[in-house]
């Protein structure tokens, strides 16, 4: 009981966590209700005059074709969160499965998984993603989540493996084995709960990483072929001459949002780290 209170106590006093989660909440809210407030659909050619700077009618201005930037923005934000959640979630999940298996089982399985992880770790994710993306010629957002998740896991697996490795040698794990518990159950009931804070951190980092990766893919034209996203907005902006035409309202909001969201996630990560790691609290 006391321990939990202590975490809460620090959590409520940790500026990094509070600011970070505040920003995330604001953007989440925007992504949630924003589309309802948007007056136009993201791809509608709303403004017959074409590109216009922000105004009361078009809050974030319009694109070269007169599409409402605000509408694209809030819908793209939604896509960003979906990618973060699903892609990051999947990456964490795969990382957990492999990390737990390697860390708990040890031995030859560990050697194999470890070698595999190292191999995947060394191969540049983006190069692989590009190739996968090129394979799938019609791409959906979910597909993007899937292949981001399936390539982002190695470092998570490594981190989780290391943690599991150290926890595995603790006597309570031996005791659980002496109680006849099955490995899966030991991992789920004894090891994972001990790493909860760590897993949360891993997830947060995967979340941010997935968002950045998705933005990169989208930007180079390998994003979803049937949806809007913040990365695609930037791609379109660059493609349609927003820079030389000075249409800053087209490329500033999406990048800013990504930076703010990922930055907030990182900030939360550090905040949580400080809460879970008493060593860092004093600094």
């Amino acid at each position: 009981m006391k321990k939990r209170n202590e975490v809460l106590y620090f959590a409520l006093r940790n500026k990094k966590l509070l600011i970070g989660s505040g920003i995330i909440l604001i953007f989440l809210l925007l992504a949630w209700v924003g589309p309802a407030f948007a007056k136009y659909k993201p791809f509608d050619y709303a403004n017959p005059l074409g590109a216009e700077p922000p105004s009361t009618e078009y809050w974030f201005g319009t694109t070269f074709f007169g599409q409402d930037v605000f509408s694209q923005f809030v819908n793209g934000l939604r896509a960003t969160f979906i990618v973060g959640l699903l892609g990051g979630g999947l990456g964490t999940l795969v990382g957990m499965i492999i990390g737990f298996a390697a860390g708990y089982r040890g031995g030859i399985l560990d050697e194999i998984l470890n070698a595999f992880t190292n191999i995947v770790l060394v191969i540049p994710t983006l190069a692989v993603l590009l190739i996968i993306a090129a394979y799938l010629q019609v791409r959906s957002l979910l597909m993007e989540c899937l292949f981001i998740g399936l390539t982002a896991w190695p470092w998570a697996a490594r981190a989780i493996r290391a943690q599991t490795f150290s926890l595995r040698t603790r006597d309570f794990v031996d005791l659980a084995r002496l109680s006849g518990m099955k490995p899966y159950k030991i991992v789920r009931r004894e090891i994972a709960p001990n790493m909860m804070s760590y897993l949360v951190l891993v997830f947060i980092l995967q979340f941010g990483g997935a968002i950045l990766t998705a933005a990169t893919l989208d930007f180079i034209g390998l994003g979803p072929t049937n949806a809007i996203s913040l990365g695609l907005m930037m791609q379109y902006a660059v493609l349609w001459g927003a820079l030389p035409l000075g249409m800053w309202w087209w490329f500033v909001p999406p990048g800013l949002a990504i930076t703010a969201i990922v930055g907030a996630l990182y900030s939360m990560n550090v905040g949580l780290d400080e809460i879970f790691n008493p060593k860092l609290r004093e600094m």
Binding site: K3, F172, D174, L178, S179, G180, P193, M196
Partner: protein, 334 residues
Amino acid sequence: MLRLDNVSKVYRIGAFGGKALYAVNNVSFEVHKGEVVSLIGESGSGKSTIGKMILRLLDVTEGKITYNGEDISTFKGETLKNYYRQVQGVFQDPFSSYNPIFKADRIFEILREEFFPNIPIPEWQHRVKNALVSVGLNPAHVLNKYPYQLSGGQLQCFLIARALLLDIQFLVADEIISMLDASTRIDVLNLLADLKSRGLSILFITHDLSLAYYISERAVILYKGYVVERGAVEKIFHTPLHPYTRMLMDSIPRLDRKWEKGTTLLERKIEEFRGGCPYYERCPVAEKICAIYRPSLTEVDTDHFVACVHYEPSTNLLGAPAYTEQRTSQSGLG
């Protein structure tokens, strides 16, 4: 009841597992029903490894461990569970034995889930309370608490209570008091002794000969994975034969006698064991042959075995080994 036959544990090291590291080397002994056997050695002697192998937490590389005549490595699923109903362990670090994020009494709940899923909860709680009382704890004081709210001694008693809830026949007690405060050590030790009187067999793992003497009938002295001396504890305690055992005896800090000065040989460098007698590098009475010849365990008295060339009748101590030079240059001490 529990018997080790030429048990070895080998770890593979090197890039492709090319080198073998013997943590436990060809160890044999037996624990009879209602008997306490002490396994004595310093860290790295392989004593905990043996405990873990008996508990099936580690696999045996060579040799065989039998429990009531059955090879324990064959146990699987239900038979393994059945084995654990009878054989349990308590470990050195009481705090590490508990999952820090859960309450301490969760260990009982797990036991119920795994072994007695059919026993209703109130009945189980009743049993738990009885077990706690029988290890000298007041259930009202210790239940529903986190591990850090309890003392090391209480936690160790908790674990013993846990073992008692099963139909336990054999307990591996791995250094269970070495991390406890002096004030509670003896209570835990006494508790073990009480269990013995109930007919339980105990493998008592320790580095302290005097504790072994206090509680056990027989003792096994391990050095670097080898049994160097084994037998009835009185004989070992009163007439230690192996130089290592003698050194252990001399090193015990006692309140009734001061140490003799300078009898301890210390390592000057980390040396790789090259064969020969494992104690060769530190042995004050080593012969040349000890560098290349590993003596076998010889019975010098009834129930008193020792592995030392000095007690091996047939050894020719004059055989000149090749390592003489090396030895003289390395084992000088201040």
